[in-house]
């Protein structure tokens, strides 16, 4: 029974010893071995199982992965004095764990150093460019719907020379020149969010509203103009139709009148006095009605024989 207990103790001791001698570097890690705080040999970056001097040497593990840095939004003026919030993110990794270990020691410190560096460079870069350079990446012209054609600007007056991508790259380059001092490799800096500060935003909204109102007004007046045009065209059309009809009608009438005059003249010219005579007779019949009072004297032709029957 004693031997069993002893065996157990020895086994435990062995396991303990092995645990302190062998160590595994995992996939996302890199390791620095220190002896009484002093780094020993090269950092181990390949994942595997390794041996160290037990108890005396200590394993310090660092991340090998892409790490995130997410800055706080910064209120920065651009070169053209527009105030914006800029929120950047960056990707970095511990490229030189030894230096990293010596200079910043842990991630919290590293993050705060990155804060200082990237925030500062962001300010510098943003402040030396106009807002449009921060917002746009290319000089592409905007497409415009049929409805808004000619009503909105298709490009912002100023063409960009640098652009968002290049600005971010500039920040990256400036910052990445400093970070190796901390054993850090900075691989990317990007603008996550860019927004107007509140007072500017309000003004921008007002401008947008004014622009839309202008467009709406333009549509309304266009509608009114178009409808007036149509009404005018209608008036013209009506006048044209009516006057043409009148002209044609008058021509027809005139022609007929002429024709009839010719016919009458031709006929009556045979004997104008006879015409006058017969026409007078006709006229009497038409114009003398029952309420006409007629005074006849006896010398009228009709009563010729009344006084002298011979």
């Amino acid at each position: 029974m004693r031997s069993l207990g002893a065996l157990l103790i020895v086994a435990l001791a062995l396991i303990f010893l092995a645990g302190n001698t062998l160590y595994i570097v995992h996939e996302p890690e890199q390791v620095i071995i220190t002896q009484f705080g002093k780094p020993q040999g090269k950092p181990r970056t390949d994942p595997n199982i390794y041996v160290k001097v037990p108890f005396i040497q200590k394993v310090n593990r660092f991340d090998k992965r892409w790490l995130a840095w997410d800055g706080d939004p910064n209120q920065v003026p651009t070169k053209d004095k527009k105030y914006i919030w800029v929120d950047c993110y960056a990707r970095w990794r511990i490229a030189d764990p030894l230096k990293y270990f010596q200079v910043v020691r842990n991630e919290t410190l590293a993050q705060s150093r990155l804060d200082d560096i990237i925030d500062g460079e962001t300010r510098n870069v943003i402040a030396s460019y106009d807002l449009i350079e921060v917002v746009r990446a290319t000089n592409r012209t905007f497409e415009v719907t049929e409805e808004l054609k000619g009503l909105v600007q298709t490009e912002v007056g100023a063409q960009i020379k640098t652009g968002r991508d290049q600005l971010a790259r500039e920040i990256l380059e400036r910052a990445a020149a400093i970070t190796p001092d901390f054993g850090i490799e900075l691989v990317d800096v990007r603008f996550k969010r860019i927004n107007y500060i509140e007072s500017v935003q309000k003004k921008v909204y007002e401008r947008m509203i004014a622009e839309r109102k202008r467009i709406a007004e333009q549509y309304r007046s266009e509608g009114q103009g178009k409808s007036a045009e149509i009404r005018g065209q209608m008036e013209r059309e009506l006048k044209k139709i009516r006057s043409e009809a009148y002209r044609t009608a008058q021509e027809l009438r005139g022609k007929a009148d002429g024709e009839s005059t010719r016919i009458y003249a031709e006929a009556y010219n045979r004997d104008p006095s006879f015409y006058a005579f017969t026409r007078s007779l006709q006229a009497w019949e038409k114009s003398l009605t029952s309420d006409t009072q007629m005074v006849l004297t006896t010398d009228a032709e009709f009563l010729r024989y009344m006084k002298q029957p011979r």
Binding site: I24, V25, E27, P28, P47, N48, R65, W66, A68, V135, R136, F142, E143, V144, T145, V152, R190, R193, I194, Y196, Y205, M208, I209, R212, K213, A216, E217, Q218, Y219, R220, G223, I230, R231, M234, L238, I241, E244, A245, R253, A256, E259, Y264, A267, Y268, F274, A276, F277, T278, E285, S287, L288, S290, T292, Q293, M294, V295, L296, T298, F302, R304
Partner: protein, 341 residues
Amino acid sequence: MNSGPRRVQTPEIVIQRMSNIPRGFILLAIAGLALLILAFNMFYTVQPEEQAILLRFGGFTGDIYEPGLNWKLPFIDKVYKVPTRRQLKMEFGFRTARAGQRTRYEARDFPEESLMLSGDLNVADVEWIVQYKIGNPYFYKFRVFDVEETFSDMSEAVMRQIVGDHSVDEVITIGRTKVASDAKELLQELCDRYETGIRVEQVVLQDVNPPQPVQASFNEVNESIQERERSINQAWAEYNKAVPRARGEAEQTIRQAEGYALERVNNSQGDASRFLALYAEYRKAPDVTRRRLYLETIERLLPTLDDKIIIDENLKNLLPLLNLGGGDGIKALERGQKGGS
């Protein structure tokens, strides 16, 4: 152990008890137990939507294991299961509170996520989703710290960059698909560069609007377009109502004139014919015909007149004495022959 609540078992008692059991049996039990633990540590199941990767002494073995029962070196290999076949989704500017037949969304908006500057220096409110799959489980697991957060940051940066290169009108209307496809492309590029192991399946724009305070004025534009159409249509309606009618009326006027012309010519021809016929006969006996016509006319005419006065030709002064009814014109036939001879 069969330890009762009241019985205090000192180790001596336990060892004494155990020594009663045959030694071989104990060894067998230990071996069995060890085997069981070994088995549990050797075999593992990969679910249908997953793939598995192994780390041996902390290092990636390079193999990817498919769904089913798989085995590994116990204690030495470590298994990581990654749901590579599941489509994952991230929402920006809004959150689904409960998905289902009638999906509910959280009432709260996320303006800090969705408000962004457009290329014409206006502001757009863009909500979008990104659908993605894990394409490379090894990268996804071991190359990037906190992939989800990284991916979310990337999506925001990418969407803002793309929207920053489009006008607010494009983002809201015709540019939607282009914005989405550009964003997808750029996002995938970044994913590859950062070794996230993520495959972007789709970027879908959801609600894309002008910012809340500006929306009313955007609607006003739409209304004004409607208004314009309406007033144009109205004018055309009037046009269409009046013009064809005027054409008809014009036609009527012309036809009437044609009628008049026909009538006029026919009448005159009739009159002429009548006159000529009469004249032909008249010439044969002018005097008598003239007299006949005259007398016949007067004969026809006189009976129709109610009031007739015959005066001797010498009584010239009688006229003022006559009661000339109501001032009606007197049609005096002072000299009957006047029309004739």
